[in-house]
Every structure is written in structure tokens, then in C-alpha cells.
């Protein structure tokens, strides 16, 4: 395989990895802060994409339908809407179940994800069909032999990396981040120290969901299409990435996302029928879990006996 082709595979893998990492960071944030897996996260990604689409319809009516400005407005609209949704989920579904076994929270968020998916399928006009997503990013391309770099792919890559780094900076360098890390480490002590637990939890959920919305818009722009079931696989992949990387660690989520994308790309190249790549990637995940049950950057679990 020549260099250009290898480069092409690398580029594809990178964009995928960044999208997966964005979803995985959300999972890891929620887990860190509340020890819960919000399984509806993947469907929030999908809902973010659809919100952007709806916003686009509004923009089109106002005549502002093209260019980077429109893309920005869509992203902001989706992120705001999903932040609100995430907060509502935290308030009504997750926080009330704080005391009960974690399985219940997993199940309730799973069911919520299913409900969200079905709601979009049923109530969004034409929801059950794949819907074209507007092409808003510039499409100039540079070709070097077998390697084609499109400007919008590069832009998506940069935006995604920027978003993840932004979250990392937020968590590590700001007061809000400090509060989040405190709650993640020990919720009781954090409360005693004067941190409003409820507010931090709601903010964290808002943050994670906004990131998911961005991933949804990025996904839509990359494939020029969204459909109501895209959240399921993305959610499972995001969850797998977060787990394999080690729940609770943002670096782990990034590593996990990149790893999953790498596994898929290797699977695609290796097998003569590229469609086996998902089977390969998931099998590797199961094997990895058997080897390192708590992820690559291991969680330090503390259990009350």
C-alpha cells in the first residue's frame, strides 16, 4: 500500500477517532461525577444532529443558509438545546435514583435513550428515513497522489480536538473544573467543603451533553446525513472507548476513542470484506476487558463493604 493510501486511511481513522472521543469524554465526565453511566448519551448525539437540522430549516426560512456562519449557529443551537436536555435528564431521571443500585440508573437511561430514538423517528417529519445534512463547510480539496485532503475534514478534525482540549482545560484549570473533580473524588466531603452537589452535577451533565451535540453536528457534516438510529452504535462505541480507556479519566476517553477507531481501520484494511471491521473491533474490546477489567488507565475503585 502506498503512502498516499496509508495517509488516507490515517485521516479517515483520525476523524472517526475524534468523534468517538468526544462521545467518550461525555461518558467519562458523567461517570466521574456521579458514578453513573448515562446510556442515553449516544442518542443525545443523534438528537443534537436533528436539532441542528431543525435549526437549519429555520435559517433557511430566514435566508441565512450557507457558509461557516450558519454552521456555527447550528452548532450553538444544538449545543444549547442538548445542554438543557442533559440537565433535565439529570434532574428527573438520574439524581432521584442516586441511592438505588447502579443497574437501575443504567437501565433508566438506556430506556430514555430508546424513548428519545423512537420519539425522533415518530415525531420528526420524515424521521424514519435518513435525512440529508446541509453541506456548510468549504469543500476545497488538495490531492497529493492517492491522498485527498478536504478542507472540511481537516476543519472537523481541528474543531473536535479543540473541543476535547477545551474540556480538558476546563476540568483541570478552572474553579468549575476543580469543583467537578472534587465531587468526582468524594461527593460527601465536597458537600462538606461547601460545593453545591446538585448544581455541579447538573452543570456536568449540561457540559457533557453539549459536547455530544457538537459530536452530532460534526457527524452530520462529515457524512452529510443523519438518521435516527445513528446514536445507538455511536453510544456503544463511545461507552466502549470510555471504559477501555478507563472510566473517570478524560485522557483515557481520548485514548479509548482513538483505539477504537484504530481497531476499526485495521479491521477494514486487514479483512478482504471491510464490513467485518465492527466484529473485529468489538471482539478486541471484549478481549481487552478480560485482560484489563477496569480499563487501560485503571479506575481506583473504593467500595463500602
Amino acid at each position: 500500500m502506498d503512502l498516499g493510501l496509508a495517509g488516507q486511511f490515517l485521516l479517515n481513522g483520525l476523524v472517526l477517532g475524534v468523534i468517538y472521543a468526544m462521545v467518550a469524554v461525555g461518558f467519562t465526565l458523567f461517570f466521574g461525577v456521579l458514578d453513573v453511566i448515562k446510556f442515553s448519551h449516544g442518542d443525545v448525539v443523534m438528537a443534537g444532529g436533528f436539532t441542528a437540522l431543525a435549526a437549519f430549516a429555520v435559517l433557511r426560512m430566514l435566508g441565512l443558509e450557507s457558509g461557516m456562519m450558519a454552521a456555527l449557529i447550528l452548532a450553538v443551537a444544538a449545543m444549547a438545546a442538548m445542554a438543557v436536555l442533559g440537565t433535565l435528564v439529570a434532574k428527573f431521571l438520574v439524581l432521584p435514583l442516586k441511592g438505588s443500585p447502579p443497574l437501575n440508573t443504567l437501565l433508566i437511561t438506556l430506556m430514555f435513550g430508546l424513548a428519545l430514538r423512537e420519539a425522533v423517528r415518530l415525531f420528526y417529519p420524515g424521521g424514519s428515513n435518513p435525512k440529508p445534512f446541509p453541506r456548510l463547510l468549504p469543500e476545497n480539496a488538495w490531492t497529493f497522489g492517492n491522498f485527498t485532503l478536504r478542507l472540511d475534514s481537516a476543519l472537523l478534525l481541528l474543531i473536535g480536538i479543540g473541543a476535547i482540549l477545551g474540556v480538558q482545560v476546563l476540568v483541570r484549570r478552572t474553579r468549575l473544573g476543580l469543583a467537578i473533580r472534587a465531587v468526582a473524588q468524594d461527593a460527601e466531603t465536597a458537600t462538606v467543603m461547601g460545593i453545591d452537589l446538585k448544581r455541579i452535577v447538573l452543570l456536568t451533565f449540561a457540559l457533557g451533553s453539549a459536547l455530544a451535540a457538537l459530536a452530532g453536528v460534526a457527524n452530520g457534516l462529515y457524512y452529510s446525513e443523519i438518521n435516527f438510529s445513528m446514536g445507538l452504535l455511536l453510544g456503544v462505541i463511545g461507552f466502549s472507548s470510555a471504559v477501555v480507556g478507563g472510566l473517570g479519566s478524560v485522557y483515557g476517553a481520548i485514548i479509548g476513542g482513538a483505539l477504537f477507531a484504530a481497531l476499526q481501520t485495521i479491521g477494514a484494511i486487514w479483512f478482504s470484506v471491510p464490513a467485518y471491521k465492527d466484529v473485529f473491533a468489538f471482539a478486541c474490546i471484549i478481549a481487552l476487558m478480560a485482560w484489563k477489567p477496569t480499563g487501560l488507565i485503571a479506575e481506583r475503585p473504593a467500595e463500602r463493604v
Binding site: 443497574l103 433508566i108 430508546l114 424513548a115 445507538l232 464490513a275 468489538f282 476487558m289 463493604v305
Partner: protein, 384 residues
């Protein structure tokens, strides 16, 4: 001091259940069905208020064999009443098979606390085993059904190592990944039919073909689904007895200990790994068995029948009915399988409605419709 609870609540419940199910399956007009559904809900609420539910459970606990007999008689009565309608019998058989598979999930989740998000995948393993073996080999069909179950258990054991080493969310991930892997593998693989699926020949036992038309006497023709329905009911009844017996035995006790607190159970000398393995494998075998029978009855299997959504549906049956209560699985399965078929208006919305229903239950009544009662060492004993 110990008075055995009377038997009449059991008979009443069985008769009421039989009548409701028959009516549900028979009625066609939408408003009639909606009315029936409302009446059932009202009756259930009334029963809860008047404590009839408790009476029924005490009664069935006091006379277990009689309760089983009454339920079987009720099921047979329903079958007899519907003997000539194809689709109704098909639904009844499907309910019975889902009950079997979900009883397996109850073993895993309700007793051992092992969460399995790939229930539909194990159901599918049994189904595909039946499809392949019935078409390509001359093995007797009953053996094929058993093999379906065993293969499901065997393949499930591949997941055991990762599952035993992980807990909670991590363990959940493994079964989720497996479910997706299973479906993707089937879709990509041509030898197992790919997305087109496989046709499955009808069941044949000792020369008697289950697909042949059934004649009762000279004039009456029953639906050919009659054979399948009876077999499915037999399977469900057998599984029910098995699960109930397991629960009441020391096996159930050990499983409960493992679920409640693994560390404490281990401290008391219970081999946690062994019980988890037993529950997980047994549950998968049951799901595989049900899947194999389902495949030969429907005559067709495809990867799209065994998705993550279907696994979630099975889990919601277990949760709705009351996690750990085998009796609760029956009304929950009837609700989940039959209601969307009959109430056409909700057919499209069924996944949404069930998701919302389970959310409400998890939020407000996490124990389900028929919560699992406290373990009784002297059944039927009531404090006087």
C-alpha cells in the same frame, strides 16, 4: 397456629387470567380492546387495594402443585378456545416462548444479579442453530432444539472470563458488545444467510409434522399452530417449575446472597464465581431453547430479529413483571407481546411506550408489577 391459605384465590386468578387473555386475542375492534385494557388496569388497581394480590400469592404458595395445575388448565382452556385461529395461536405460542426466555433472564438478573444485555442474541443463537441443523442434517428435531439451548450456553461461556473479572458497568459493556458483535457477524457472513436470513423447516417429531393441517374429527380443522403452541406451553411450564424450585432451594439462596452482596457472600464461603457461571449459563440455555422452537415455528430467521432493542424488550419484561418474581413474567410478557399487535394504534409507538413505561416503573415502583415477596421458609404460614 399455622393455617394453610385457601385455594380459591388461585382458581379465581387462573380463570380471570384465562378469560382476559382469550378476550384480548379474540377481539378485533380497537375500541373494544382499549376498553378491555382499561378494565384490566382498573381491576388490577382494585385488587391491589383490596389486598387480593397478597391473598393470591399466599394461596399459590400454599398449594404449589394445585396452582401449577390450575394455570396449566387455564392455558389449555385458552388454547382450546382459540384452536382454529392461526394468528392468535401464534401469538400465544410467542408469549409462551418469551416467558421461557425471560425466565432464563430472571435467573440471571433477578436471582444472581448478572445483567445480560444480549438476551436476544442468545435467543438468536438457538434460532440459528435450529435453522442450520434442521436444514443441513438429519438429526431428530427434538435433539436439535436441545442443541440450540446448549450451543447458546456454550457460546455464552466464552464471555464468562471477562464477565467474572468485571463488575457493574463493565460487565454490562461486555454483553452489549457481544450482542452487537453477534448481529453484525450474522449480517456480514454469507454462510449463515446474511441479512437475507434463513428459512427453517417445520418441526417433525417421529414422522408427525407440526406444519401439517390438524383435523379434530371429520369436520373441525384446527390451526396447524396448535402443535407448536402446546409444545411451547409445555416448555414454559417446565421452565417455570424449574425456576420456582431453584428459587426455593439452597441454589436460590446462594444466588440471592451473591446478588445482594458479593463480598459478604464470599466471606461466608459461597463460591461467587461458580454461582454466577451457573446462573448465566442456565439462563442462556433457556433462552437458546426458546429461540430454537421459535425459529421452527416462524419458519424464518434473520439477524434483524435479534437486535439490541429486542434484548432491551426482554429485559423490560423481566423488570415490568417484578425482577426476581417468575410469576410476574407472565402478565408482563402478555403485555409486551400481545398489546402492540392488537392495539394497532400503538403498534408504531410500542417501543416508545414500553420505554416510557419502564422509566416510570424504575422511577416510582422499581419492584415491578408483582414485586418479589420475602422468602418464606414455611410456605403458606400466616401469622394468626
Amino acid at each position: 397456629m399455622t393455617r394453610r391459605a385457601p385455594a380459591w384465590p388461585t382458581v379465581l386468578a387462573a380463570a380471570a387470567g384465562a378469560a382476559t387473555v382469550t378476550l384480548f386475542l379474540r377481539l378485533e375492534a380497537q375500541w373494544e380492546i382499549a376498553l378491555l385494557a382499561l378494565m384490566v388496569v382498573a381491576a388490577a388497581l382494585a385488587a391491589t387495594r383490596l389486598g387480593l394480590l397478597g391473598r393470591f400469592e399466599a394461596s399459590s404458595a400454599a398449594h404449589p402443585r394445585f396452582a401449577l395445575g390450575a394455570t396449566l388448565a387455564a392455558a389449555l382452556a385458552v388454547t382450546a378456545l382459540l384452536h382454529d385461529s392461526h394468528f392468535e395461536l401464534l401469538m400465544l405460542a410467542t408469549v409462551a416462548l418469551y416467558v421461557t426466555a425471560c425466565l432464563g433472564l430472571t435467573l440471571q438478573l433477578g436471582y444472581a444479579g448478572v445483567v445480560n444485555f444480549a438476551g436476544a442474541a442468545f435467543f438468536g443463537i438457538g434460532a440459528y442453530t435450529a435453522a442450520v441443523l434442521m436444514t443441513h442434517s438429519a438429526l431428530p428435531h427434538l435433539l436439535v432444539l436441545a442443541l440450540g439451548g446448549m450451543l447458546a450456553g456454550l457460546i455464552g461461556s466464552v464471555l464468562l472470563l471477562p464477565m467474572l473479572r468485571t463488575r457493574g458497568h463493565y460487565a454490562a459493556l461486555i454483553t452489549i458488545a457481544f450482542g452487537i458483535l453477534f448481529r453484525t457477524f450474522l449480517e456480514v457472513n454469507d454462510t449463515l444467510g446474511g441479512p437475507q436470513g434463513l428459512k427453517v423447516p417445520g418441526l417433525e417429531v417421529g414422522g408427525f409434522s407440526f406444519n401439517a393441517p390438524v383435523f379434530l374429527g371429520a369436520q373441525r380443522e384446527a390451526s396447524f399452530y396448535l402443535g407448536y403452541t402446546l409444545l411451547a406451553l409445555l416448555l414454559a411450564a417446565g421452565t417455570f417449575v424449574l425456576v420456582k424450585r431453584l428459587e426455593r432451594s439452597w441454589v436460590g439462596l446462594s444466588l440471592d446472597a451473591v446478588r445482594s452482596d458479593e463480598t459478604a457472600a464470599a466471606a461466608y464461603g459461597i463460591d461467587v464465581a461458580r454461582w454466577k457461571i451457573m446462573a448465566f449459563t442456565a439462563g442462556n440455555v433457556l433462552a437458546g431453547l426458546a429461540g430454537a422452537l421459535y425459529a421452527t415455528m416462524a419458519g424464518f430467521v434473520a439477524p434483524a430479529s435479534f437486535t439490541f432493542g429486542d434484548s432491551l424488550l426482554m429485559l423490560s419484561i423481566v423488570l415490568l413483571g417484578g425482577s426476581g418474581n417468575p410469576l410476574g413474567v407472565i402478565p408482563a410478557a402478555v403485555l409486551v407481546v400481545v398489546l402492540p399487535e392488537k392495539l394497532q394504534v400503538i403498534q408504531e409507538y410500542r417501543l416508545l411506550l414500553f420505554a416510557l413505561l419502564v422509566i416510570l416503573i424504575l422511577r416510582f415502583r422499581p419492584d415491578g408489577l408483582l414485586p418479589r415477596r420475602m422468602r418464606e421458609y414455611f410456605p403458606g404460614w400466616r401469622q394468626t
